[in-house]
């Protein structure tokens, strides 16, 4: 592994020792799983809407370049200025140049995972611009100087008490209270002042409609609407995969998204933004910019199998149902996108040298695949990335970077033994005789026996027993 690699094992170990954190996640995810199950109780309806959702995303990806061009043309026609960024540095520079042109000092942000991917807040701060997260969860995480631990519920790792302490410590006018309504009200008061004075509003995009040049945003708190209508300039940032072909593609995807994410049939607000303020209109920004980010996505797009990663509608259901994520939480992944989708997306975006551990943060149980509303074959892609990590190639950045001579030798030896009946029977007979003498302190066995008894080799193999009992061989 390279020096810059992110240590998932170490971070997850810390998370596992935090009983409070484990309890918070177990409760939250159990709740989300059961609420979601109610939303999709009708199997036939689930199968139908899921097939439709997957086909919308597949159709969009099948003509992605064409749709992106159409989106640019229609947005431009509507008065939305479109910018292209191939890297996060470029995207940050574009955002900064817009800010500098309007002499912006304060930005309010609606929720945007792409801006997390860009580390936009830190970048703006470096350039003397204050950037305030206005989604309540994101605001809490920002106060805590942490990363979101879930893509839908950024502060899901914290309980009310922890948030109460944080508010008391970080907000000047705060009185200590564990009353959720009072805490929410406090955050609202802080944010309202900022909405009124912000120079620029930044948002993400849930879907961009190519045929109409419309940006769709779903949210529950109204902060997204505030960020995109109150400040005189609105900048939307999106990954290039977020385009859909037609307006009629929007409802099925939103229905799948909100029900999969928070088990809501629909969110409180669905914003459809199609142009800046027109003459005679009472609200809305004077300028809208759309920054379309590549950051490795066109590389993912180029591989027919890996391309399926780009179907994702960012509902987070795979996280809620992942037995690994629900034990360790999002911070262990140290990535803007944690959980199963993050484990396949991050290595493709940032390379296997840095993120090669993530495809192994998975037991391949397929719970994520079962639940994914757009049928992403997450576990297949996980397997593909494991293979890329040990075999040099050019499909994924850093392929072959986890190749270890010792490990390769072990598997070579394994395949030679298991591919030869004679060698296999010799080896297994030997293990049956001597295997139990192996001390529990051996590597691998030691990890296993920390919480489990030592596996016991049977004195005779099934092969031997079958022979003895006269079970026919052919």
């Amino acid at each position: 592994m390279g020096e810059t690699s992110i240590n998932f094992a170490k971070a997850s170990s810390a998370a596992l020792q935090d009983q409070q954190l484990r309890g918070n996640f177990r409760r939250a995810m159990d709740g989300l799983m059961s609420k979601r199950a109610v939303q999709f109780a009708d199997t036939a309806e689930w199968n139908g809407v899921r097939t439709l959702g997957a086909s919308v995303r597949l159709r969009a990806l099948s003509k992605l370049p064409e749709l992106l061009e159409k989106l640019e043309a229609n947005c431009t026609k509507n008065g939305i200025q479109v910018h292209w960024a191939s890297t996060t540095d470029e995207a940050n520079a574009i955002v900064l140049s817009i800010m500098q042109r309007v002499n912006a000092k304060l930005v309010v942000k609606g929720k945007s995972m792409v801006s997390e991917e860009m580390h936009l807040n830190a970048f703006l701060e470096k350039h003397g611009i204050e950037s305030l997260e206005s989604d309540l969860g994101e605001y809490i995480v920002q106060l805590d100087e942490a990363m979101p631990s879930h893509i839908i519920m950024p502060a899901i790792h914290m309980n009310t008490k922890q948030i109460a302490h944080l508010f008391k410590q970080k907000i000047k006018e705060a009185e200590y209270t564990e009353d959720v309504a009072q805490l929410t009200d406090l955050a609202r008061r802080v944010l309202r002042k900022k909405f009124a004075t912000a120079d620029v509003g930044i948002s993400g995009v849930n879907m961009a409609v190519a045929e109409t040049g419309t940006l769709c945003l779903v949210e529950n708190e109204g902060n997204g609407r505030m960020s995109t209508t109150v400040p005189p300039v609105h900048i939307a940032v999106m990954g290039l995969e977020k385009v859909v072909e037609k307006l009629e593609d929007v409802p099925p995807v939103i229905s799948l998204l909100t029900r999969s994410a928070t088990a809501q049939p629909i969110t409180t607000y669905v914003n459809m933004i199609s142009s800046p303020r027109k003459e005679g209109e009472k609200d809305g920004p004077n300028e809208i910019h759309l920054v379309i980010l590549d950051n490795g996505r066109s590389g993912i797009y180029a591989d027919e199998e890996l391309r399926n990663t780009l179907r994702c509608i960012r509902c987070g259901a795979c996280m809620n149902h992942c037995p690994v994520y629900t034990k360790v939480g999002g911070h262990a992944y140290q990535a803007p996108y944690p959980g199963p989708i993050g484990s396949i997306l991050m290595p493709q975006v940032e390379g296997l040298e840095k993120r090669g551990e993530l495809p192994h943060a998975c037991t391949m149980c397929n719970a994520c695949v079962e639940i994914c509303p757009v049928k992403i074959p997450i576990v297949e892609i996980m397997g593909r990335l494991r293979s890329e990590a040990v075999h040099p190639g050019d499909a994924v950045k850093g392929a072959g970077s986890h190749a270890s001579k010792a490990e390769a030798m072990v598997w070579k030896g394994w395949s030679m033994t298991y591919a030869s009946p004679l060698a296999y029977q010799f080896a297994t007979a030997l293990l049956a005789k001597l295997g139990n003498a192996a001390p529990a302190s051996l590597p691998l066995l030691k990890e296993w026996t920390n919480v489990r008894s030592k596996p016991r080799f049977a004195s005779r193999t099934l092969h031997a027993l079958a022979r003895e009992k006269g079970i026919p061989d052919v």
């Binding site: 690994v324 391949m364 149980c365 890329e388 990890e447 489990r452 099934l462």
Partner: protein
């Protein structure tokens, strides 16, 4: 790969079949070394239904350990070595949802573009998980001969999500008059084995099996029955390690104990 994102990489059609005269038994490498009595029990259950069971001595492993670790060439080599030993048209019965899933759902892709692809797909199309075969093909009816006992059932991830085996094992257990089956609260949740995952991420795996053990204990069951030896090794190892008075047992062995007692 299938582009509608079905779980299996390539779905091979498995025709509905009549009760055969003979079947092949694929023992799996974990059963071979650690749970041979489960393998023997599986074969005896089949024989008790009047089916001739053939156990090819040349067999070893489906290739899954290497396949899931990213060593696909090595997996292919081992999988290919199996093809010769199942030449007849008989069904291949496997006492493991995981290995059955590897053979029937992943072999077609593993062999894609190889000269023996067609042969591998033909073998894949004949693979059955044991309980699925007992229920769907042999339509077994068991008579319980054991004393009253309370048990619970652990569903393996690959059995349920790759092989589509969900109700069959429980249907078999419910045929046993003196057996009270109490379902786990989180029946579908992975036990944390995941092949090399258990040693690659021992702490997360321990947390996962810890939750599983707690769930099992909450049922008050005397035994946890499962159809996969990987899960069993993990769960019963954790039960033993924690000195819990619950035993882990493979479903084939449990059924055999209850019916031939």
């Amino acid at each position: 790969m299938s582009h509608d994102g079905t779980i299996s990489r390539t779905d091979i059609e498995r025709p509905a079949i009549e009760r055969p005269d003979s079947v092949y038994f694929f023992g799996t490498c974990l059963v071979d070394l650690f749970y041979p009595e489960a393998g023997m029990a599986g074969m005896e259950l089949l024989k008790a239904q009047g089916v001739r069971v053939v156990f090819p001595q040349g067999q070893s492993c489906c290739g899954q350990p290497a396949y899931n670790s990213g060593y696909r060439e090595e997996a292919l080599k081992v999988a290919r070595a199996q093809l010769d030993y199942f030449p007849g048209d008989w069904p291949i019965v496997v006492p493991s949802g995981s290995c059955a899933g590897m053979m029937s759902k992943h072999w077609p892709d593993l062999f894609k573009g190889e000269p023996d692809e067609a042969r591998a797909c033909q073998v894949a199309s004949r693979v059955w998980e044991l309980t699925q075969f007992l229920v769907q093909v042999l339509k077994v009816k068991f008579e319980d001969q054991g004393p009253p006992v309370k048990i619970t059932w652990h569903a393996s991830c690959h059995a349920q999500r790759e092989m589509g085996v969900t109700d069959e094992p429980k249907a078999l257990l419910r045929q046993l008059a003196n057996v009270e089956l109490v379902e786990l609260q989180r029946e579908k949740e992975c036990c944390g084995f995941g092949g090399t995952f258990a040693v690659r991420h021992p702490e997360i795996s321990a947390a996962m099996v810890g939750d599983k053990v707690a769930d099992i204990e909450n049922t008050g069951a005397k035994a946890v029955v499962s159809g996969d030896c990987g899960c069993l090794m993990n769960i019963s190892g954790a039960l033993e390690g924690g000195k819990k008075p619950v035993r882990g047992v493979h479903i084939a062995q449990f059924l055999k104990e209850r019916t031939h007692g």
